[in-house]
């Protein structure tokens, strides 16, 4: 069977989630194409993080469908989903604060092996990929914000993901650090990992994304190529504010 040139690694169809009286996610659909970076933008409270939590099994949606790599993953637990190759990072970095950097990443590596020596080898390799190898012995809570980001990436990479969901990786970073993170995400993507990134930093997301989707009040407003999306009048109205189009 011939493999299609472009394939949807993640297919989300008509996902809905309600918290009490609030319709957090409403009939939301999107596809993440294999090998690409999908940018997801939307105002605060639009439901971006909720969407990630639905996909990774933290919450259960009322209705909808999530297919990952040809497999229905809806209703599975977070750790099972991770074993299929779908991993996520958090909006606020969530290191295991009292463990060393190496042990943090080893926890991710244990997703594929039960042998400590093998896990250590893999963790070391992942730390090198994100440029954190020199800090391997440091306790995670002593890291700077950018290094905690790197740690999150390394820990996610250690699980051998096919796709990573990045939740606001630029939060709390200064301009130079954003540049570093953008380069890092691009590098990870070039190494064959599909990426879905949620971001507020427009400049970052425009330079990262191959294509974008916009979410507001739990629904998708539009999707398309980055320049199309930022020029869309609905997006400007819901999120960017008039006058952004110059970017």
């Amino acid at each position: 069977m011939g493999r299609p040139t472009s394939m949807n690694l993640l297919e989300v169809k008509n996902l809905s989630k309600r918290f009490g009286g609030l319709q957090a996610i409403n009939e939301f659909s999107f596809n993440a194409e294999e090998g690409k970076i999908l940018g997801l933008i939307g105002p605060n409270g639009a439901g971006k993080t909720t969407l990630f939590n639905l996909i990774t099994g933290v919450y259960r949606p009322e209705s909808g469908n999530v297919m990952f790599d040809g497999q229905d993953i809806l209703g599975m637990k977070p750790h099972q989903i991770c074993r299929f190759g779908l991993c996520r990072t958090f909006q606020v970095a969530q290191p295991f604060s009292n463990m060393t950097v190496l042990k943090n990443v080893m926890t991710g590596a244990y997703c594929r092996t039960s042998d400590p020596a093998e896990a250590e080898e893999k963790a070391t390799a992942c730390l090198q990929r994100v440029g954190l190898a020199a800090q391997a012995g440091v306790t995670a809570r002593e890291l700077t914000t950018i290094d905690q980001r790197r740690l999150e990436f390394a820990r996610a990479l250690a699980t051998d993901p096919k796709l990573i969901l990045l939740d606001e990786s630029m939060a709390g970073l200064n301009h130079a650090e954003c540049e570093i993170t953008i380069a890092l995400i691009k590098k990870i993507n070039e190494q064959g990992v599909t990426i879905v990134v949620v971001e507020h930093n427009m400049k970052a997301i425009l330079s990262l994304s191959h294509y974008m989707a916009v979410i507001a009040q739990g629904s998708k407003i539009t999707e398309g190529l980055p320049q199309e999306v930022v020029n869309d009048s609905r997006v400007v109205e819901a999120y960017l504010g008039k006058g952004f189009t110059k970017c």
Partner: protein, 356 residues
């Protein structure tokens, strides 16, 4: 189960092979080798010359060190605070004692049956509680222990209720776990402690232990990178429960009498947690250190204030707990560990600066 036993056999044999290979006479000059060996030699060779009173204190120290170490697996490393570990202690004590009382089954066998029962019980509690987050586990362990205590109290026809059960003494009989001398009990208690420390060490240096510690620090993040939180916690609790139950059997065989208020008592539950808290939660030697400090303190106060100020040790426990939480929340072990490292570094034969 099969997987688990295969893993145990494999890892134990690897450890012994490493011990055999790593052991040569030149390594004896390294203080990291000869210090622990000297300590072990002291623990083995000195007690025969001690009086019954001091032996008794040592037996209790090592019994509670083993039990505290067991608590530490789930309560310390896993961060799942249990305030009902006496449930497993009592279950171990009552299982072996009742089997001996009614069927004359050797307590050695009863010890393992009690451990097995505790594993089953812990599995059920874990299955229920580890799906939830928040204080449910603490409350459930507390309740579990009380439920068992009432069960034993009310089923008088079977358990003798509050009267308690005495174990018939049949003279020196190794097969029945009965000894006339305290020295044998001392060696068994020491062995229990070493087993508990070894099991803890094995867990902590394995995938299970890494996952357990990660879970204790950040459950959501651990699950996101593939840790099956319910299963990991259930296994850790099962190991902890089994070891605690074995300590319970030992206690029954040593004291020759058990009653529900002692072996299922809230004070025992808190004491088990206290050893780890004072010594160092989630550290390998913390509960052992905690047991030494607290038991010596208990003996000292009851010997000196005894009748006049009964219960004074509870006041001291409370004060000590508050002081530790405020001044040294990480416990005594990290501090003593640094002290030990400094001593080792200046001892003859040390490979100065090279840690571990």
């Amino acid at each position: 189960m099969k997987e688990a036993s295969a893993f145990i056999i494999k890892s134990v044999s690897i450890d012994f092979a490493r011990l055999g290979k790593g052991f040569n006479l030149t390594s004896l000059t390294n203080p990291r080798i000869y210090f622990p060996l000297m300590a072990l030699a002291l623990l083995l060779l000195v007690p025969p010359f001690l009086s019954r009173y001091y032996l008794h204190i040592l037996v209790l120290i090592f019994l509670f060190a083993a039990a505290g170490e067991s608590w530490n697996i789930i309560g310390g490393y896993g961060g799942q605070f249990s305030l009902g570990h006496a449930a497993f202690f009592g279950l171990g004590a009552y299982t072996s004692t009742m089997l001996f009382h009614y069927f004359e089954i050797s307590p050695w066998l009863g010890m393992f049956l009690g451990a097995l029962l505790s594993i089953c019980l812990s599995w059920g509690i874990g299955w229920l509680c580890f799906r939830l987050q928040g204080p449910y586990f603490v409350i459930s362990t507390l309740a579990l222990c009380e439920v068992l205590r009432y069960l034993i109290l009310t089923q008088r026809w079977l358990t003798m209720g509050a009267t308690g059960l005495s174990i018939k003494f049949k003279g020196q009989n190794p097969w029945l776990f009965q000894f006339t001398d305290k020295l044998t009990y001392y060696y068994i208690a020491l062995g229990l402690t070493l087993i508990a420390v070894y099991v803890t060490y094995k867990i902590v240096s394995s995938r299970l232990g890494h996952s357990l510690v990660a879970l204790g620090q950040n459950q959501a993040a651990a699950e996101a990178v593939g840790v099956n939180s319910v299963k990991v916690k259930q296994i850790a609790l099962a190991v902890s429960a089994a070891l605690t139950a074995m300590c319970g059997t030992f206690y029954a065989q040593y004291i020759f009498f058990i009653d529900p208020d002692t072996v299922f008592g809230l004070s025992l539950s808190t004491e088990l947690a206290l050893f780890a808290i004072i010594g160092g939660v989630g550290t390998l030697w913390g509960p052992v250190i905690g047991a030494i400090v607290l038991r010596v303190l208990t003996e000292f106060t009851s010997a000196n204030f005894g009748e006049g100020l009964a219960g004074i040790q509870l006041v001291i426990y409370g004060g000590l707990l508050m002081a530790m939480v405020m001044i040294k929340p990480e416990g005594l072990a990290p501090m003593l560990g640094r002290f030990y490292n400094r001593i080792v570094a200046v001892m003859p034969g040390s490979t100065h600066g090279k840690a571990n």
